[in-house]
């Protein structure tokens, strides 16, 4: 091949790469862009082209109790599930990455399972479990449709993310730092708090972030676990869609996108997520 030929091939390769990457990015962003656009349409039945633009759908969701309550419940659930998930997953990740014990592989897989199992299956399983638990306790335990039952399901969704990302962080953590701390007089807990935790913080924060998003956006599993009158935002949206298709759904979605996007940006300011994931 001539020198000129090889340069041409490389240029073609580069343009092909840019083309494919651009197309993929466009494909990913298209729904987000179109739904944002749709949320400003002035007509009630979305049709193209728009008749005009308005902010009124954003005001309408504020006056819709189902959306507001759903949003609040989703945030509460996400925050509590993430907090509990962290408390369970960080020690679990430490054990899994530091100790060799029988059943370690199995435990590792079990902790990742909620990520693999379809939400519908997970939801059904939990629902049946809750029913059985109530029967077994003779109705003493009111877990079916309770906030506690819903929360326990969401914790399951958070765990795999935190375990996976904290383990990734631990793999790159230099354990001589812990020995150095102990040599200087720090006991195990102080060593963890002052040396290990700051070292794996990017993984912990990223895990919490992804866990929160997974909980916040969870629809399928939650459908089985919510009680009457208590719905999460994704369920409120679904229920609204059964009766109406107007741009207020688009507006709610945009609010969700903005919330999650903001959380990502804020997190990224403290911890470079791209370095962990």
């Amino acid at each position: 091949m001539t020198a000129v030929g090889s340069i041409d091939t490389r240029a073609i390769g580069r343009w092909a790469l840019i083309g494919v990457a651009g197309l993929t990015l466009f494909y990913i962003l298209l729904p987000l862009l179109s739904i944002t656009w749709l949320s400003f349409y002035s007509q009630e039945i979305p049709s193209f082209p728009p008749e005009g633009y308005t902010f009124r759908w954003y005001f309408s969701i504020l006056s819709n109790d189902r959306f507001v309550d759903g949003l609040l419940l989703s945030i509460q659930l996400g925050v509590s599930a993430t907090a509990i998930g962290l408390a369970v997953s960080v020690p679990a990740a430490l054990c899994l990455s530091r100790f060799r014990f029988p059943g370690r592989e199995a435990l590792n897989n079990v902790l990742l399972l909620p990520l693999m199992v379809p939400g519908v299956v997970l939801g059904t399983a939990l629902y049946v479990f809750h029913v059985e638990a109530e029967i077994a306790t003779g109705g003493e335990l009111h877990i079916l449709g309770s906030t506690l039952g819903l929360l326990s399901g969401h914790v399951l969704v958070v765990i795999p993310w935190v375990v996976r990302l904290v383990m990734a962080s631990l793999a790159g953590f230099d354990r001589t730092l812990e020995e150095a701390a102990q040599n200087l007089g720090a006991d195990r807990w102080t060593t963890f708090r002052r040396i290990t935790l700051p070292g794996i913080l990017p993984g912990v924060v990223a895990g919490a972030m992804f866990g929160f998003v997974a909980s916040f956006g969870n629809l399928e599993m939650s459908l089985f676990l919510v009680g009457p009158g208590r719905t999460t935002l994704p369920i409120a949206i679904l229920q609204y869609l059964e009766w109406k298709i107007d741009p207020s759904i688009a507006a709610v979605s945009v609010v969700q996108i903005v919330l999650i996007g903001a959380a990502m940006l804020v997190t990224d300011r403290f911890v470079k997520i791209s370095r962990v994931v």
Partner: protein, 364 residues
Amino acid sequence: MARLELKQLSKRYGDFFAARDVTLDVADGEFLVLLGPSGCGKTTTLRMIAGFVEPTAGSVQIGENDVTRLPAWKRNTGLVFQSYALFPHLTVAQNVAFGLEMRKVPKAEADRQVAGALELVRLGHLGERLPRQLSGGQQQRVALARALAFRPDVLLLDEPLSNLDAKLRQEVRIEIRKLQQSLNLTTVMVTHDQEEALTMADRLVVMSEGSVMQVGSQRDLYERPADRFVAGFVGRSSFVSGTLETPQLFRTAGGIPVACNTKLMPGPATVALRPERVTVAPAALSDMDNDFPGEVEFVSYLGGLIDLHVRLSPKDLVIAQIPNREDGFMPAVGEKVHVGWTAATTAVFPGAGDDAGSDELQPD
């Protein structure tokens, strides 16, 4: 600072002894170096002193206290790690302050001691930097300051110079040694570099396969190696195998009678000769206890010194190191020469080596 005593310290993993019956006594203010090839148990021994490896048997005593069962954080030893292990998220000053903070030293007093420790290693101006903003040599000094700031009973150095370039290593060796002497620090250092060990130590411990082979001063180890391993590991030796016929007569595998002076029982034996103690001359060396004709087989020009491999018989080879002088004798390959040495310099060890004749154990 305090005295450090190890009594029959052993660490066993299954059938394998990482350290076996290590008994050492380090005096207050003494610089002891554990020297040996990798896997000889020197690092395991150091880690047992620091409390990171739990001994299978034996005891560790620092000052008046038996610390064998104490966790690492209650031992008050200052360890400089090979990789330095500086905390990456803390500044230099915070790194150095860590040990004081753990001991609940009041802030003002701690600040003063941190400044003092940093001054000691000439890094007083870099306290606010993060470790990654420092050069390797500076990081090494921070690690040293951190290990000293809280006034440990014993200073432990785990190959502290192995990550520095050759020139810096020479300087830091002397620097650490001077600091150790001026502060009267009881120090144990681990290294596989014999030159490093010889320049820094008060006393050396040669280890092999988990056991202590010999403890002594530089001179003890060099002039009176306890066994063949030490003779080959500390300094250089050329080995000639054969049979000890009487305590005064050793016969090489090639049948050459060598005068010696040993207390060993007759039997298979090996003679170790320091190359610089072997004289080479064009004619017979009548004033030497041993004088043999030979042929120069190999010449290695080292600048100030020249190594000569002289074959005495088809089975016997001796290495001589001669100074490179303008008026000196400098034979070429194939030249007939005489080599000679005294009976006193003829070190005899029991057992004929299977790698007889030209064998030369040389670390690094």
